[in-house]
């Protein structure tokens, strides 16, 4: 009896420990999220509903966005730039990832991947300024074009939307390459063999088998690109020459001199809402498990 009782107690203790362990493991992450995301977000939400002058409840910080065409234009610009960057990055990254996964011998893949992500090792700001030097009027590209006689006057490449997109694409192609590469490597060769057995050629196999199966990798990468791109301040600020404003620049403008944190908070929450819509649109492909 005492033995039974003892084993029963230890069994219950083990069961309790078994229940407690996942919570113990997840608590630091939950605490971190609560402290550095949930609380600041709530604070930002309240700030966005407060009048800049005199305090008190107001919705004007939100209404300004819809009333002021230049604020609205910032969102349109952000969406346009983000869409272009995402599409171009996917189109460049997919063949790159395919070559890495399928054409590069296995023993060289690790090195090839490392080389592919090498630009990640440099500072984001330094990389943006480097692009500015490449695209400048006296930069490498213009000097090469004028030197070869292809053009007589330098092109305006720096301080344009093209420059912003170039800087973004350089960064996000690396990110997308990684996610698509990982997806391609997970694919069993038997899919291709089965397709071939059923008479499908390489193009048909790619379009009807490989591409659908790698869609989760593409969508995860595209979603990350969307989120990181639409919220980025540095690249458009350095490369875009302020010839158009994107949402993060508009948010920062409210803070600099006037310290209008309520309006900056409202604009940030609107930006976050757009990201949420993008998430919901991609949600079906963002599941970790695959059927």
């Amino acid at each position: 009896m005492p033995l039974v009782s003892s084993s029963g107690k230890s069994g219950r203790a083990l069961a309790r420990a078994g229940h407690a362990l996942p919570w113990a493991l997840v608590t630091p992450a939950l605490g971190w999220t609560l402290l550095f995301f949930v609380l600041p977000f709530i604070a930002m939400g309240f700030s966005s509903l407060t009048a800049h002058e005199g305090g008190g409840f107001t919705l004007s910080n939100y209404s300004q966005f819809f009333i002021n065409p230049s604020y609205w234009q910032a969102m349109v610009n952000s969406l346009e730039v983000t869409a272009i960057v995402t599409v171009v990055s996917v189109l460049l990254a997919y063949p790159f990832a395919w070559i890495l996964a399928e054409q590069v011998p296995k023993r060289w893949q690790r090195l090839a991947l490392m080389l592919a992500v090498l630009p990640f090792w440099t500072s984001y700001v330094v990389r943006s300024y480097s692009w500015l030097l490449v695209l400048a009027q006296n930069g490498v590209i213009n000097r090469a074009l004028t030197g070869s006689g292809l053009i007589t006057e330098p092109l305006q490449l720096a301080n344009t939307r093209l420059a912003t997109v170039t800087g973004f694409v350089h960064f996000f192609v690396m990110l997308l390459t990684l996610t698509i590469f990982a997806n391609l490597k997970q694919l069993s060769p038997s899919y291709r063999k089965a397709a071939a057995d059923l008479g499908a050629g390489p193009v048909r196999t790619f379009l009807h088998v490989i591409l659908p199966l790698t869609l989760p990798g593409i969508m995860v990468g595209a979603f990350l690109t969307f989120v990181l791109c639409i919220g980025d301040y540095i690249t458009p600020q350095i490369l875009g020459g302020n010839n158009e404003l994107l949402m993060p620049q508009l948010v920062m403008m409210q803070i600099g001199r006037r310290g209008d944190f309520p309006l900056a908070s409202a604009l940030s929450i609107i930006l976050m809402a757009v990201v949420t819509v993008a998430y919901l649109a991609c949600a079906r492909w963002l599941k970790i498990e695959r059927a």
């Binding site: 402290l35 600041p40 604070a43 305090g55 008190g56 305006q156 803070i255 600099g256 001199r257 209008d260």
Partner: protein
């Protein structure tokens, strides 16, 4: 009055609690990194972080100056609001914004008899801003002009004597605009014959037209580093809003860079030092202000590695070459033609910033 109304508002009360929670969190996380009471904690612009400026003061007084850089008064005041009272001792602030700090009850009156006010250029004392309610809360330490910076080998210097050149076809695509709305709006005001100190909401349409003309000629609108780089690398030949703060520091490497004070005038910028009311180290804070305002401190500040500017003290111990680069001897004439930095009230300030946003978005 605003405090009273805020205390009765449930939203504000919740906001206050959230602020307190955030401040407590920041305090917990910052334990160990917070400066010791014996140190001097300064909220500064980048020109004050030059070791060449701080080291002599630190060695002479056996104190460590902890600095935190910020850009824009709003951002600086937000840092103060998120700090504990007494965390900061001194602050660098736009002279026109000293009253904002006073209204928030942040600053300590400065003892005029212990400061070299008599040695300052009279036009840059800015008593209208630095003295509030008969008490001095700020002292101008450095000034300069938002005017036309240019490369004299690429443009006709005679053209740079008129603001009309900035909108002429001759320099289309050769222009950069400094990305700060107040001084450039001030320049637009000068271009259309308005006085910067008298701008009202009724002037905004005409100012907007002028800004749009400038934008149509511009290749970029850039903050300090971007606009300076554009001028230095030849991406553009003219910087609207540029001045000695852009050209003087680059004079050795690029002597072709220069600035003009056009016939319509220029916008005078000035930065001040203020002491915090809750400083735990007021004696050392005053010593720091006295050092910065001394001839030696003024020379070091004027030629700081971040950006050069005119020292407010006429007795600044600058070398002959430094004075030449800063055009020290021409200051009386420049100051006579310079106009005040626009200092709009909160409502007009917001409208001016929105107008600037429209200009930036214009294709």
């Amino acid at each position: 009055m605003s405090v009273k109304s805020a205390s009765g508002n449930p939203l504000s009360a919740l906001k206050r609690h959230l602020h307190a929670a955030c401040a407590a969190t920041a305090l917990l996380l910052g334990v160990g990194s917070l400066a010791e009471a014996a140190d001097l904690n300064a909220l500064i612009w980048c020109d004050h972080s030059d070791p060449g400026l701080l080291q002599p003061f630190e060695e002479a007084n056996g104190v460590k100056v902890n600095v935190k850089e910020f850009e824009g008064t709003g951002a600086g005041l937000a840092i103060v609001e998120q700090s504990q009272p007494g965390d900061w001792d001194v602050m660098v602030i736009d002279s026109i914004d000293v009253p904002r700090g006073v209204e928030k009850g942040l600053f300590e009156p400065l003892p005029e008899d212990k400061l070299p006010l008599a040695d300052l250029f009279p036009q840059v004392k800015m008593d209208g801003s630095t003295v509030v309610g008969g008490k001095r809360y700020g002292i101008t330490e450095k000034f300069g002009y938002n005017t036309i910076g240019f490369n004299k080998t690429k443009v006709d210097p005679a053209d740079m004597q008129s603001l009309a050149s900035l909108t002429s076809d001759k320099y289309k695509g050769k222009v950069a605009i400094y990305d700060y709305y107040l001084p450039v709006i001030g320049m637009a005001a000068l271009a259309i014959g308005k006085k910067t100190a008298e701008l009202t909401e009724a002037d905004l349409p005409a100012l907007k037209d002028e800004l749009l003309k400038m934008k149509a000629n511009a290749k970029l609108v850039g903050e300090v580093t971007a606009s300076q780089t554009a001028l230095a690398t030849g991406e553009v030949d003219i910087l609207v809003g540029g001045g000695e703060w852009v050209t003087a520091g680059l004079a050795k490497e690029n002597p072709a860079l220069d600035f003009s004070i056009p016939k319509e005038g220029a916008v005078l910028w000035s930065q001040s030092l203020a002491m915090f009311k809750d400083s735990k180290n007021k004696d050392m804070a005053l010593k720091f202000i006295q050092y910065i305002m001394s001839p030696e401190g003024q020379a070091r500040l004027a030629t700081s590695s971040c950006y050069w500017g005119m020292p407010a003290n006429t007795k600044a111990a600058l070398t002959g070459d430094q004075k030449k680069v800063l055009r020290f001897d021409e200051q009386p004439g420049f100051l006579a033609r310079a106009q005040a930095y626009p200092a709009p009230n909160a409502d007009l300030d917001k409208k001016m910033q929105d107008m600037w946003t429209e200009m930036l978005q214009a294709k």
